[in-house]
Symmetry: C2
Subunit: 317 residues, 2 copies
């Protein structure tokens, strides 16, 4: 059996898998990252022991545990180099956990884990060169090159959100102008939609959505698409066009067989959004490798991250 | 001993190397690509036999031959998939040569070969994650990831020239707008310089450079820099800024230890150009991995391609 952890800034999720990576149980706990990295490590140990106790599984049955972390990870050393949402800097998480837990423990970046999950068990099966692109608050990227996760010299590879594709364009949270994330993330779309509502040009049912950015979720965009609100559809189409342009740059550079797009926005908007991204990719990439790259929707949903984390433990063991 | 070939659209160069990759001899011949790929193959065989005969080297002393080709190559099969300047499409060049030449023969893309040469024998020694960036007529790119040349699913990886970084920007030869190549190549600089001369704003010695784009070489830009012509210096600085921005996107994505910039422009303009590219890279990349990537000038000059081709044969044998 394997354990896959999705360690978020506010909550952590633990999944217990059988050897075929079927989910046997899952549990969650608050991360408590405001109380220091030591406490986070303790809670990981507690939640691991709880899920094993509740399922009557002996820890000797566990062949490995993978932990997906939102940050820059040294995979070989099991060190969290930087994870702002967890308050960790150069934190030797795997070493601490190994003092209490007797099985092999692997850490990786959460987008890497999600991409690996889709590659091994989801939409990326059967390919060897796969890019994962996940638009949400930011835009995460994972690179599977020649059947292996590519992590770069220091574990930071796959950072596609701050690819500059419009110098002088919309300002990004990172301080640069025209980053992909500032143009094509769900958050960028939310800002534009909020502005449209504030301008008072939308019909009833949309005109009073309010000034809280948090209200402009993927569901909002689905609702607007279903209702046929052209002003909001234009925002979605523009974001899909920029995302496809960014993916075209990646396809030209890396010549993959498959680009998996995933996350809440892709799940909610479905085929219309996927096909808009694909059209833009093909319009902006070179004929080859553009026409050699499939653009597919992720298929595992939120399970991609814990499945990928567990598979990384399984594949690395 | 090894043979390294630099197979260009107009001429081919053959180099004979000893086992330490010192050049023993080199010879050249017109490629004759207008007379069909079969003739090009014959000329490669002829030139190989000539250089061996002239140096009294028996073909049994040759451990391998590497051929650098301007196009998309299937390295494993030794097939030139597309090389417009050679008139080759899906051409099984290695198989044809092996019928006449008894040693192992490897084909690769010319920019891959040049990057490999710099990695193994030039400015990239000692690193494992190296990007090669060569601004010239276009902008070529080579990727060495974890100590290996990354060729992508179909041999086309490394295509950085058509990375779109300014939608709606300068039109590119490929038909897109705002490709890196249209903004930052030596050819883009030449077009801008020609326009500046045509505008009649330059001092004596530059005002009558003429309307032939071919006159605006890397030497022209060096001459203008030495003479301190601000209008031309601004063109160079702008191109260096865009090149650094494109490299920042690559550094964010691939987290390399080293970016090698090379080609005639880098050789002519030297440190002022290299440092301008580096400054722009650091200004546009994320703090990490931006500060972890060195930006260095290539050190092998024109030898990088044949040395890299021969090294590929040696390293693959």
């Amino acid at each position: 059996m394997y354990i896959g952890f999705d360690l978020g800034g506010t909550k952590m999720l633990a999944y217990l898998f059988d050897q075929d990576m079927n989910v046997i149980a899952s549990q969650k706990l608050k991360t408590g990252s405001d109380r220091g990295p030591g406490l986070v490590a303790e809670r990981i140990i507690d939640l691991t022991r709880t899920i094993l106790a509740d399922t009557n599984v002996n820890e000797r049955s566990i062949l490995g545990m993978g932990i997906a972390v939102p940050g820059v990870i040294d995979f070989d050393e099991g060190v969290v180099k930087q994870a702002p949402n967890l308050g960790m800097v150069e934190f030797p998480l795997a070493r601490i956990l190994r003092q209490e837990l007797p099985f092999p423990i692997y850490l990786d970046n959460d987008v890497n884990a999600g991409t690996w999950g889709e590659y091994r068990r989801g939409a990326g099966r059967g390919y060897r060169h796969v890019l994962g692109v996940f638009p949400g608050t930011g835009i995460g990227g994972g690179l599977i090159l020649d059947g292996k996760l590519y992590r770069g010299a220091g574990g930071a590879a796959g950072e596609i959100g701050h690819m500059i594709i419009q110098p002088g364009g919309t300002i990004c949270g990172c301080g640069q102008e025209g980053c992909l994330e500032a143009l094509a993330s769900r958050k960028a779309m939310s800002k534009d939609a909020l502005g449209m509502v504030a301008a008072g040009v939308l019909p009833a049912g949309f005109e009073d959505y309010g000034t809280d950015l948090a209200a402009y979720t993927s569901s909002f965009f689905l609702k607007a698409e279903t209702a046929g609100i052209p002003e909001i559809q234009a925002i979605t189409e523009r974001a899909a066009r920029y995302l496809g342009m960014g993916i075209a740059n990646l396809v030209n550079l890396l010549n993959p067989e498959c680009v998996i797009i995933g996350g809440g926005l892709v799940e909610k908007l479905g085929e219309s959004y996927r096909s808009a991204v694909e059209r833009s990719m093909r319009a902006h990439a070179m004929a080859y490798p553009g026409n050699a790259a499939a653009v597919v929707a992720a298929s595992l949903g939120d399970d991609a991250v814990p499945v990928g984390a567990a598979m990384l433990a399984s594949d690395s063991g």
